[in-house]
């Protein structure tokens, strides 16, 4: 019987402490064929979480399960089917894509040369030019081409779109959606540019100060949450159980509610806005309860 588990990635109670930073009880599950966006401020723990998942840094406790296997025991086997794009490139910028192809052929048993060349063509990357002369967008696309030319089932990317212009970012989102077309492969992608993930990510996981504050489907988060904008008097009428957090601004209160439909039924407030991920993040981080 094949592995029945429909989650490609499962993280259970991951803890890690180093220097003054702590990852606390991180739990994640990413189903087959889906994109999960990991969002949070700089320094919130996104990169550490990703490195822990990839076994690139030791963890204090917890369990990482990928393709139904334990990362501690089967790291080598698991990594054959993972594609990774990290901030620091491990390949010299003096290499051309052609050189890289030669190197990768020797590293991955299932490296597909033809597929790699096809991606280079699709992404409009020159074969015989050193990558140091590439634009930032081209460099990221090259990294992605390298990461997906051995048919990985899980693609993990740390801040791939940071520093890119909107056109390049949008092209990269297209690549992501192509990658999950088969319904078998998944993507875990971190970003602090939340607008990139707002539409295409199926799941949004919001990490802050080493803890996961929220992990929900995009639709639950962006279609059910709402921001009530009201006066102080009105705010005082709201039951404490009916909101998540609130933030006091100069002229109004911003109140984050997790079910705006129900809220509307119960209270007669005029302004309930559809939030963006940034709004939700901001009220969670800066707000009170």
């Amino acid at each position: 019987m094949a592995n029945n588990n429909k989650n490609i990635l499962e993280v259970k109670n991951l803890n890690k402490e180093y220097n003054s930073f702590k990852l606390k009880d991180i739990n994640l599950s990413l189903p087959k064929g889906m994109i999960m966006g990991l969002i949070g401020e700089n320094g919130a723990g996104k990169t550490t979480t990703i490195k822990s998942i990839l076994n690139l840094t030791s963890i204090d406790s917890g369990e990482i399960n990928i393709f139904g296997m334990d990362m501690k025991e089967e790291a080598k086997k698991i990594k054959e089917d993972i594609g990774v794009v990290l901030d620091d490139s491990f390949l010299s910028e003096h290499l051309t894509p052609k050189d890289i192809n030669q190197i990768m052929k020797n590293i991955y048993s299932n490296w597909d040369e033809d597929l790699f060349l096809e991606y280079l063509k699709d992404f409009k990357l020159p074969l015989k030019q050193e990558s140091k002369d590439f634009s930032s967008g081209m460099k990221v696309k090259l990294k992605i081409a390298i990461a997906i030319s051995h048919y990985p089932k899980l693609l993990i990317l740390d801040e791939p779109t940071s520093g890119l212009d909107p056109v390049a970012r949008s092209e990269i989102l297209d690549i992501f959606q192509d990658f999950i077309q088969d319904g078998e492969s998944s993507i875990l992608v971190s970003s602090h540019i939340t607008s990139d993930l707002e539409h295409i990510a199926d799941y949004i996981t919001f990490i802050n100060d080493g803890k996961i504050l929220l992990s929900k489907t995009r639709d639950e988060l962006l279609e059910q949450f709402g921001i009530v904008r009201c006066s102080k008097e009105d705010f005082e009428k709201i039951d404490e159980n009916d909101y998540e957090k609130y933030k006091i601004n100069k002229y109004e209160y911003d109140v984050l509610v997790s079910n705006k439909k129900e809220f509307k039924r119960k209270y007669d407030f005029k302004v309930i806005d559809k939030p963006t991920l940034d709004d939700i993040m901001l009220i969670y981080i800066k707000g009170e309860k």
Binding site: G33, Q177, I180, Q181, G183, H199, Y203, T217, R218, D219
Partner: protein, 137 residues
């Protein structure tokens, strides 16, 4: 098939997709038995998440507009005309309800509204087809 997604309206994305496909089915632009795009390819073309698209298809299925055959795809269901009419009726009732509330606030009489209806109906009778398709959400 045109599906237009707006970010500036309050309507959830899955509902926008659902409503537009539904309108095409009601207007017979999408015909019974026709194969809809797969969830994943539609998600990609609309640049929205797979789960959002799946939510739209699930709702359409729940309301009887489409039928999913596992491993094959999602098809436009054989139309249950009564069901569609019932739904449209509810929609009309809702809108009239709103109209009546506004009328009451502004002191517009029932008679005036009836006259309005007569006039509107008179116009639309000439182009019945249009009245079914015409309303844009």
């Amino acid at each position: 098939m045109d599906i237009i997604i707006s970010n500036s309206v309050d309507t959830p994305l899955y509902e926008q997709v659902k409503e537009q496909i539904k309108n095409k089915i009601v207007a017979n632009e999408l015909k019974a038995g026709e194969l809809l795009p797969s969830i994943r390819s539609l998600a990609k073309d609309l640049r929205i998440s797979v789960i959002t698209t799946k939510n739209a298809y699930d709702e359409l299925e729940k309301e009887g507009y489409v039928k999913t055959i596992p491993g094959k795809g999602t098809y436009v269901a054989n139309k249950n005309t009564e069901l569609i009419k019932e739904e449209q009726l509810q929609k009309v009732e809702g809108l009239i309800d709103t109209a009546v509330s506004i009328a009451k606030i502004s002191g517009i009489t029932k008679k005036e509204i009836k006259e309005m209806l007569d006039i509107l109906y008179g116009e639309e009778n000439e182009n019945k087809q249009k009245s079914i398709k015409g309303r844009k959400v």
